[in-house]
């Protein structure tokens, strides 16, 4: 007799009242969950546009002249500022080849901006001895190291129109390289535009530019709101299923089956 019962179950063809209700609830919650998680990211992707930082716009304005060797002093200063903007990004630390190209560009332009040959020659020596001191450094508070650093900043910051306390000024002694200072290699010139574009172009849209509770909106949505939504979805499911059980008179007793 019992064999005549179907006892087949599938998510899409529920055979009991409870599983029908459960299926409907699961479908609704999964849809909300899926659209909230993946739908929003797809929307973000559709709406985004590669947006350059102001620095990239400046760089592109001066780059052709710098590359051709026709840049004015002002253009070279702007060029150095752009390079420093990228050298200050921590994501660059993991890319030594890109960093090397930027170091070369900065060292060359600073060297080039020096007033005369004698200053240039002394400057290479100064950077070289600073590099040596830094490689042997055990304490960042070492007075000789601190003073050598300050000396380089004091020398270069005015040339680049930087305040000596600014972060870019502080980058200078750490990013100048004595080797290759006299020339900007063709290989690095070829790489530079790509590197600048890579680090100074970002996917932005109204969703990223709108500030909500202090956050860029998309960041708030993903890092804060989605987690709240997950907890709420779980709460709704548990609450609704409890109600269904109560309505149907199901008493979920503790049991052990082994």
């Amino acid at each position: 007799m019992e064999e005549q019962k179907d006892y087949r179950i599938s998510f899409f063809k529920p055979t009991t009242e409870f599983s029908k209700i459960n299926r409907n609830l699961v479908i609704v919650l999964i849809l909300i969950w899926g659209i909230s998680v993946f739908g929003f990211q797809i929307l973000l992707r559709i709406m985004e546009k590669p947006t350059p930082e102001k620095t990239l716009v400046t760089f592109e304005r001066v780059w052709e002249n710098v590359k051709a060797g026709n840049a004015s002093t002002e253009e070279k200063v702007e060029f150095a500022d752009c390079v420093l903007s990228v050298l200050g990004k921590s994501t660059l630390a993991a890319k030594p080849d890109k960093k090397a190209a930027l170091n070369n560009a900065l060292s060359w332009v600073v060297y080039d901006l020096m007033a005369n040959d004698s200053l240039r020659s002394n400057f290479i020596g100064e950077i070289s001895s600073f590099e040596k001191r830094r490689s042997e450094l055990s304490d960042l508070k070492d007075p000789e190291y601190v003073s050598a650093k300050a000396e380089i900043i004091n020398k270069v910051a005015p040339i680049l129109n930087l305040e000596d306390y600014s972060l870019k000024a502080k980058l200078i002694p750490l990013e100048l390289r004595s080797a290759g200072m006299e020339s900007f290699s063709q290989e690095n010139k070829d790489k530079l535009h790509g590197i600048m574009s890579l680090y100074l172009t970002h996917n932005q849209s109204v969703l990223t530019d709108t500030v909500f509770l202090g956050f860029p909106f998309h960041y708030f949505y993903t890092a804060v709101f989605l987690l709240i939504l997950f907890v709420v979805l779980c709460w709704i499911y548990s609450f609704m299923i409890d109600r269904v059980h109560t309505r149907m008179g199901n008493f979920d007793k503790p049991k052990v089956t082994n």
């Binding site: 006892y7 409870f18 969950w33 998680v37 200050g88 921590s90 306390y165 202090g214 907890v231 299923i241």
Partner: protein, 554 residues
Amino acid sequence: MKKIIFTGYLFSTFMLNAASAVKLEGGFKVGPAIILITILVLFIAVGLMNRAKDTSDYYAAGRSISRVGSGMAIASNWMSAASFLGMAALMYGSGYHGLSYVVGWTGGYVLLLILMAGQIRKYGKYTAPDFIGDRYYSQGLRVATACVTILISLAYCVGQFGGIGLMFKWVMGLDFFWSTVIGSVVVLAYTMISGMLGVTKNMMIQYVIIIVSFLIPLFMLTFKFDYFWLLPQIGYGAAVTDIVNGIPAPAAADMINSLGHDFAILPSPEYAMPWDASTGQTFFQWMAIVFSLMLGTAGLPHVIQRFYIVPRARDARWSVVWGLFFISLLYWSSPIFSAFGKILSSNPEVGSLAPDAIVVYTAQLGNIHPLIVGLLAAGAVSAAFSTVAGLLVAGSSAFSHDLYFKVFRPDSTPKQQMMMARIATVLMAVIVTVMSMMELALIAQLVALAFSFAAVTIFPLFLLGIWWSGSNKKGAIAGLSTGILVTIVSMTYFIAGKSGVVLPAQEFMNYWLGPWYFAWIGAPLAIFMNIIVSLMTEETPYEIRKFLVEKVHT
């Protein structure tokens, strides 16, 4: 951001080199050491007070744990040393891409709840292989999934010892060898004595330690930075925007970190903008990681096993709600360390923070009191211990219950099973300790595979096993084989890539079948194969279909 003056004093605990990343320097520290030793003694005491009396206690805590307690245990079991110490590093290093892990690791619990939790508890088994062996009426599948469970547990445990070693070294000045030995002895002691019962009770305490130790420094940092400190999880939003727009030096001239550097930062939109090209991560990878981690979360045996410890299916459901809430408390907070770490390390002399313990580095750079940082270390050890203990119980249960009792010695007495469970626990702990001591980088990297591995093997078997009575033994074997095959292909390319060997289509395969996310294709394939083969072969036995309808779905 307003001005605020820090009473900066230099920590002697940073190993700082201008050319390398910021790391911790080991050495005995009295305050943190007392905190650490106290919690180790506490864990063993709790284990002694909750000794397992029978196999039900050992495997499933006597099915006596409350919803909130089980929720805390779920959270504590889930939050490993890696997520406690290093999850912020994902956002620190790759910006918005790091959030894919936050979303993946929490969103998976929604799937777990609405698709599985209640049904798994109603099925009434002790372990994941136990369910699969019974549902698919196959000893072969039971053995295969028991092996998968043991493998996942081993790989995961090894990763945890890295965190334990790092913290023991920093707090007590011990080397990695002794850190691993002490860590193993403590966790083994209470796991062996108390099984799942004591492990779960300890997990509740560990959760409290984890969350308190994680949140206190955050309140302090947010207060010091003068953001909205009453709710740091919202207050740090302004810090994210500050990072994007940059903080000019004049505005920050009086603010210094523990190394004496001010908090100026250049505009860094790459920190928050989606799939920024400079991070090397793409939209596809973001989506694939989220999808794979979600399925992996819902398929990890030591996570699934937690639903067997509550008295009723209803409690299993509510324990997920609580568990997810408790997990979210930490995951809402983790990006804060990343944001502050970014600002505090923006000075070129600080350089990048090493990803192994970014939370601790950030607290130190932010001049948080050493005792609070010590508490943070205790939280990290608690996170590692809770995960290791859960994994040891999952692995040893798979060995003693699913292999020894269900396959090799069905006539064994409960006493013999308990003995075997304890032997398996010791055996696993020894293997994990030895593997950890070898410090093989490859093993740590293979942990990355665990999520996708669980998503392509265990998850499809549970999903179809619960929701479709048509899924049968042969279908399950086909699905599992497909999942394992995809894993092997991904692993082969991954290992080859790491070893410098170039295989055909290496770049293509490494990108599309990355170890963190090969489940995006592997899981649907495994499900598809399971369905196709099931439709082509004989139907699931009547008793199993009847059990599914009457006991699981009614």
